[in-house]
Amino acid sequence: MSKVNTVLGTIPAEELGVVAVHEHIGYGMPGSELDSKWWKTPEQRYEETVPKLRAFHEYGGGTFVDVTGICNGRDVDYYKSLSAKTGVHIVACTGFVGGDTALPHFARASVDYLTRQFVSEITVGIGDTGSRAGVIKVGVSRGGRMTELDKRIYRAAARAALTTGVPIMTHLAIDAETAIAIFSEEGLPLDRVLFGHADDGVNAEKTRDTWIAEQGGRVGFDTFGYETELEDPPFWARPRKERLDHFLRFIGQGHLDKVLASADANCSPLGWPGVKGHTVNYVFEDLIPDLREAGVDEATITTIFVDNPADFLTIRT
């Protein structure tokens, strides 16, 4: 049986459909909740979020993977209501975006404790929501190299992935040698890891995407839409054509079975202004049309957005 944990329960992987594999309902750095400049009323939040998810569903989107880690404003009860009312499957994560988003209780914790935290959120549920996490988020702290805490989190994630069969997604794929060494030591097959943000404007040059794929890892081109052409682009933006060419080049090198794509957009950002004009629907409104225009066939598009994510997200027992 192929099963995936969503916030409304376990579903067959066959039901996932088109997957946006690296997204956020709303992301904020820990502590941003104390700064009222970012606060929005619940009405505003639903107003900013529901139309995007409804459009996603109408475009043919099946599943939205939210990778807002513990301490970043992850709000599973809210995701449940959004999923139930829009028909979009939402997968929530356990884990941390990076060591620098883990608050002191977790920053001080041992690998064993972090493993238990992740396993509990995957097998019992997140907090008192009853919803089980479907992926484990890990990442590289700001600064370009994995910190001691990042490494502890990666190791705990590897153990939790082996115990539960749920896959790992990384924020940033720089310093991949260190990450892969940890996963190998723990005996985790690398096709259970999606090395994310291989395409972002700051780190693409420093990311060994083809090397990661050759080791057996999956590679995420998952910041699609953060473009220098935007009205007010963020610092990690990249020229649209450059990213698309990079993506096509990677697929052309024989790594289609390793690739996943997403937009990393916020429906309603929690602790930052967000990026105007960028939503999860970039996948349907821009990316898939661009791929078609570049001559990519429908079977390949299905592989990228349906088959690969289903294979990745399926709990491996």
Partner: protein
């Protein structure tokens, strides 16, 4: 000329709103009600039952009140489990005034929003941004995160890293000092390695010394360095705020004076003419989450310690000044 101390405008910010300063009674300035290590609220093995927390805290506050206590200052700042609505309910039901604090620190206890913001490079917050954040909590009210603001904070509390003040700690101290200077509430600092150095940092922000309380001055290393007397000479309040530490079983038992030594220090400071600068408190934790319990009655200072200090020669008048007058003067909004 009118005596400023009896002017009707003299008030203190409590969670139920401004209260006349003379109504505070016996005050404990450095205590914790609900204390939650940041992040512990998300832990798989921790549940915080609000009704249970309320029951425990209500019992402790009632005991404090029965022992002659009037006001508890929760000096844990804005990011260590502070629960303003719970404190309002506690204050209403027990009759104990509760003063809650804004502020944060040390650096290790901060969220990534302040340390690695989404900018390139991720520069930690400077003093002026902390000053704004803390000032708003006094003038516009303390936050219930992402929901609302409640009553104004009565104190800005911050702490430096034990091994020594970091650059971000210094921004916190300067921000806290500016917030105190601009809003009229006092600032509480818990020093890192060097009490006098850390005090000088806040004083260099043009904050009068009598708006500052320095906590932890019953730490052995500070006492050995002569810090309590130095701090008093500069005009800041000297908080001997680990009263009862030798009656609680903890790993760091040796870090602080015993109550016997502490009482002797009180007498010594009084004899040196600093009775108007001494504050006593326990740093007790009402309910500890994600950390070991520190289960000492809030009444320990007035029921146990002060009678003992009196037996060593502390006068009734000085005892009253330390328990009532000094904290009143400190907490009164200027």
């Amino acid at each position: 000329m009118t005596d400023a101390r009896t002017a009707p405008s003299r008030s203190v910010n409590t969670v139920l709103g401004p209260v006349p300063a003379d109504d505070l009674g016996v005050v404990s300035v450095h205590e914790a009600l609900l204390s939650v290590v940041p992040g512990a609220e998300h832990a798989y093995d921790i549940t915080i039952d609000r009704a249970e927390v309320f029951e425990v805290l209500a019992k402790k506050l009632t005991d404090f009140r029965n022992a002659g206590g009037g006001t508890i200052v929760d000096s844990t700042g804005m990011f260590y489990g502070r629960d303003v609505r719970l404190y309002e309910a506690l204050s209403r039901s027990t009759g104990v005034h509760v003063v809650a604090s804004t502020g944060m620190g040390p650096e290790e206890m901060l969220g990534g929003y302040f340390l690695t913001p989404q900018t390139n490079p991720p520069t930690p917050w400077p003093a002026e941004r902390f000053a704004d954040l803390f000032s708003q909590e006094v003038s516009e009210g303390m936050v219930v995160p992402r929901v609302e603001r409640r009553g104004g904070a009565g104190l800005v509390a911050t702490t430096a890293t034990r091994e020594g003040m970091t650059a971000t700690d210094e921004s916190l101290f300067r921000g806290a000092a500016r917030a105190a200077r601009d809003t009229g509430v006092p600032v509480s600092i818990r020093f890192g390695a060097d009490a006098v150095h850390d005090l000088e940092v806040v004083l260099s922000e043009q904050l009068p010394a009598d708006r500052v309380v320095v906590g932890g001055l019953d730490r052995r290393d500070a006492v050995d360095a002569g810090a309590p007397l130095e701090v008093a000479r500069r005009g800041a309040y000297v908080a001997l705020d680990h009263v009862g530490s030798d009656s609680v079983d903890r790993d760091d038992d040796d870090a602080h004076l015993t109550d016997r030594e502490r009482a002797a220090l009180v007498v010594e400071l009084v004899q040196a003419g600093h009775a108007d600068r001494i504050l006593l408190s326990s740093n007790a934790i009402g309910v500890a989450v994600g950390q070991p319990a520190y289960d000492l009655p809030f009444s320990h200072v007035c029921s146990t310690f002060v009678p003992f200090a009196k037996s060593l020669g502390l006068s009734d008048e000085d005892a009253r000044r330390i328990l009532v007058g000094n904290p009143r003067d400190l907490l009164t909004v200027r």
